[in-house]
Amino acid sequence: MVASVTSFGRNGLSDWIIQRFTAVVLAAYTVFILGYLIYNPELTYEQWSGLFACTAMRIFSLLALLCIGAHAWVGLWTVSTDYMRSTAVRLSFQAFFGVVLFAYVVWGIQILWG
């Protein structure tokens, strides 16, 4: 048993499930947005802001935003533990991207609900 205190879900199984689940949500969100853009070639600002004003879309967008944060953390954590041998470099990398991802999530919420 190899312990790890910096992984997202603290154990391999939850990290793995989180990554799979978030990938499905992100794929669904991407397909929806692309589909919406393709079926509305003459999209107006009112239509676009109307889409994001409805509660269902806000829930979906917020879910996708949180999923990006979790998905990116699992991925970056994996990359850092693969390629960064020095503990100081690895921890700094993880701390830096932890803050960046947190900032992106807060910024995204502000855009959605602001």
Binding site: V2, S4, S7, N11, L13, T81
Partner: protein, 234 residues
């Protein structure tokens, strides 16, 4: 034919280097790479490599031939030689002891970790522990592993974390005992594997399946282990 061989003798060489040796291949015959190594050895007896059974059973001559891992004794030249040149290197990712001989300690340590033996605390029956043909069938494609290390040394996850990631070979063996109806330590075995590295460092790129000289599928076994871990925890 031109054979380029990885050479390194820690007693003499500062750094490893590639040595080109011209070898006469007999007309009209498709030699195995191991035969070519014998021809090389006849020219330069200082070339070091492991070999034993020379028929793909012992697993001691795992090498990297023109970029792909395999057993030299059962790899025909026609399968690997491109543009008349054969490049032979030791298995990647393991420390080189000399020339094509690698230190397999890390590989064996991971194998040891998965407790590669049957655990059963119930009293032994008078004759043997019986299995139904269906239960026995579950071990097919698992027990055939000869521990040649071709798969684990083709796996980038094993290159980067050989001390933490069990590797495809070890995990294939782990599933061999998880799937065995006679083994009673399933829960303990799963608990030992449930961390971010031992199993889950596998990213499913299937290099292991691509190189296994016995045609086994460690990625599928790893998938089964994930399924069992999931079932145990949800």
């Amino acid at each position: 034919m031109l054979v380029s061989i990885y050479r390194y003798n820690p007693e003499k060489d500062q750094v490893p280097y590639m040595e080109d040796i011209e070898v006469e291949i007999p007309e009209g015959r498709d030699l195995m790479v191991l035969d070519v190594l014998h021809l090389v050895k006849a020219k330069d007896s200082s070339v070091a490599y492991r070999r034993s059974c020379r028929e793909g059973v012992c697993g001691s001559d795992g090498l990297n031939m023109n970029g792909k891992n395999g057993l030299a004794c059962i790899t025909p030249l026609s399968d690997v030689v491109k543009k008349g040149k054969l490049v032979i290197r030791p298995l990647p990712g393991l420390p080189v002891i000399r020339d094509l001989v690698v230190d397999m300690s890390m590989f064996y340590k991971q194998y040891e970790k998965i407790k590669p033996f049957l655990i059963n605390d119930t009293p032994a029956p008078a004759i043997e522990r019986l299995q139904t043909p269906e239960e026995r069938e579950k071990l097919d494609g698992l027990y055939e592993c000869i521990l040649c290390a071709c798969c684990s040394t083709a796996c980038p996850s094993f290159w980067w974390n050989p001390d933490k990631f069990v590797g495809p070979s070890g995990l294939l063996q782990a599933y061999r005992f998880l799937a065995d109806s006679r083994d009673t330590a399933t829960q303990e075995r799963l608990a030992d594997l449930d961390d971010p590295f031992s199993v889950f460092r596998c990213r499913g790129i299937m290099n292991c399946v691509n190189v296994c000289p016995k045609g086994l599928n460690p990625t599928r076994a790893i998938g089964h282990i994930r399924g069992m871990l999931l079932q145990r925890s949800t």
